[in-house]
Amino acid sequence: MSLSPTSDIVGASKKSGGLIGLLLVAVPVLLIGWMIIYPIIAAVITTLWLRNDAGAYVFSTQTYRFFFTDGYSLANLGLTLWTTVVCAIILLVVCLPIALYLRFATGRLAVYVQGLAIFPLFVPSIILSYAFIRVLGPNGMLDILLNAAHLPKIRSPYLTPWGPVIGLVWDHIPLTVLILMAGLGSVSDASIEAAKDVGAGPVTRLWYIILPRISNSILVAASFAVLGIFSAFTLPYVLGPAAPEMMGPFMQRTFRDLYDPPNAITQAVVSFGFCIVFGLFYVRSVVRNQRAR
């Protein structure tokens, strides 16, 4: 599928001696090693070898034990997982129809819809946050409109867990729509018309023809959303409740306000652990997909 370019590179290298292929991948692999793998290992080491009172470094799982027995930390982790799952579900529910519409619609309106769907990509989170307060915050634009229509005010999602959810969903719509559209691009018109021809109605076509063809894209979109949301900072920081807080603000606060690097890094390692689970899901599906081909 369109989002697994590595397969081609690896495939090509097998045929043409491999050395050029190896050189081509060496740079990104080294960069990943230096900027991602090494910090991860360093982080794990820092949190497991702690300095004791005598000044010596000893192995200790103390920061992890603290994290997993501390109700406050667990509540933060729970909120993060909840936000991530809810956002991912809402994103797919919102973006799939948009992507389907953009794939199959023709004409002027589709161009505008596409522009609108991509627009959040160009809006920095911090601007989005304040716009959110103005529109959905207490006495915001929505309340003013409701009031004009003699309807009661809404219970504003600002400073509740739904605040970050709405902001993050909005923020991730462009990427999700783009990934899903890339997947839908590989579904040919003819294959869908052929399905119509043998008698498949709209729902059957979606379920048996379109969705199976883009299952990989859906997984990629979900993984990207999950990874982006799990570690989100600005939107949860500005729009979310004081407590529980998402891991992003929690880590930042632990590090910067509490001057507590070991616990902040522990929180980061725990977050990383969850993200890698999603990552493995994605890798597994890509591999399985390639084997099927």
Partner: protein, 349 residues
């Protein structure tokens, strides 16, 4: 099995494009009709309207007397085979073929039987468990054909199904399709822009141009008696010489030939094989520009003094040389005026 009746069908895209323009055609029971025409002449558009993928701007389409225009594709008794990329790549061959049958809620063993029958029909017995990407291009198009056939449609629509295949495969597959179509007696519309394909398969050929019918005829008639200069030029090779008729004589530059029609402009049409040439002693009517040797015969490019080129077939290429002056003697010919036949010599071929 079924009769397809198309009456006054038009399709406009926007205000400028008349893809299909007031089209009438009746396809008889079990008949195979080829739609032939240059690119953009509206063949696919017409086929897609019959299959339900486009809505006509005007006109009616009936199958066995039932109006189908307001039915979506999934409710029409038609089966369409697309040019390419139409197989469902996430399903194996069996599932591709069984999908439509499952939608019709047939029992599993009947589905299995039907799929196996149709696989045998298209010569792919035992290929059911293959993934689509494990098939060659020709096999893929056979599966696409089988997918339509297995549902036993009343009307089979094929839109250049072999266009992406090489010459050999195309020839073999069109014979197979012709066989299957005749064995099943299925009413078929076949779009192509290859005249060989049309001439070798069709019961009748519809030549289209700019969304309109130029001529409908059996293949042999189409070749022998093209109704318009366009058809004449499109089917086979034809020398179309534009000139004037004056006093019962057609004249173009140094070429002239008796033509018993009223004075005025005319197009003189003669096929290369009906144009005899002989060495001229003086200037002659034309000069040989080039000689091509095909072994079995030769093709001579002729140039009239005004620079226009025409072709003549000769039995022995080595008898002729470039630069040689020749006289022209049409054995059989036709003349067109106002886009219609004005005269046809009795032995027109």
């Amino acid at each position: 099995m079924a009769v397809l009746d198309i009456k006054g069908v038009s399709k406009f895209f926007g205000s400028a494009v008349r893809a299909v323009d007031d089209f009438d055609l009746t396809v008889g029971n079990g008949e195979l009709v080829c739609l032939l025409g240059p690119s953009g002449s509206g063949k696919s558009t017409l086929l897609r309207m019959i299959g339900g993928f486009e809505t006509p701007s005007a006109g009616s389409i009936t199958i066995d007397g039932d109006e189908v225009i307001h039915l979506p594709p999934e409710r029409r008794p038609t089966g369409m085979v697309f040019q390419s990329h139409a197989l469902w790549t996430h399903m194996n061959v069996f599932k591709n073929l069984a999908f439509g049958l499952k939608l019709r809620r047939l029992p599993a063993d009947e589905i299995r039987r039907k799929v196996e029958d149709v696989l045998k029909l298209v010569g792919l017995t035992g290929y059911g468990t293959r993934q689509t990407h494990q098939l060659s291009g020709g096999q893929q198009q056979r599966v696409a054909l089988a997918r339509s056939l297995v549902l036993e449609p009343k009307i089979l629509l094929l839109d250049e199904p072999f266009a992406s295949l090489d010459q050999h495969l195309r020839e073999r597959l069109r014979e197979e399709v012709r066989d299957i179509q005749q064995r099943m007696g299925i009413t078929t519309l076949f779009v192509t822009h290859g005249q060989d394909e049309a001439l070798s398969m069709a019961d009748r050929i519809v030549v289209m141009r700019d969304g309109r019918i130029e001529q409908v005829a059996a293949p042999d008639m189409l070749y022998r008696e093209p109704a318009t200069p366009f058809v004449a030029g499109f089917i086979g090779t034809m020398n179309l010489i534009e000139g004037e008729v004056k006093g019962g004589k057609f004249v173009r530059a140094s070429f002239s030939h008796p033509l018993p029609i009223a004075d005025g402009p005319a197009i003189f049409a003669v096929r290369p094989e009906a144009l005899a040439i002989a060495p001229a002693t003086g200037e002659g009517a034309a000069r040989i520009h080039r000689v091509t040797d095909y072994g079995t015969h030769g093709l001579v490019d002729l140039e009239l003094p005004d620079g226009t080129r025409h072709k003549a077939m000769v039995s022995e290429a080595r008898d002729w040389k470039a630069g040689q002056p020749v006289t022209l003697a049409p054995r059989a010919f036709a003349a067109y005026r106002d886009n219609a036949v004005a005269y046809r010599s009795s032995t027109a071929s």
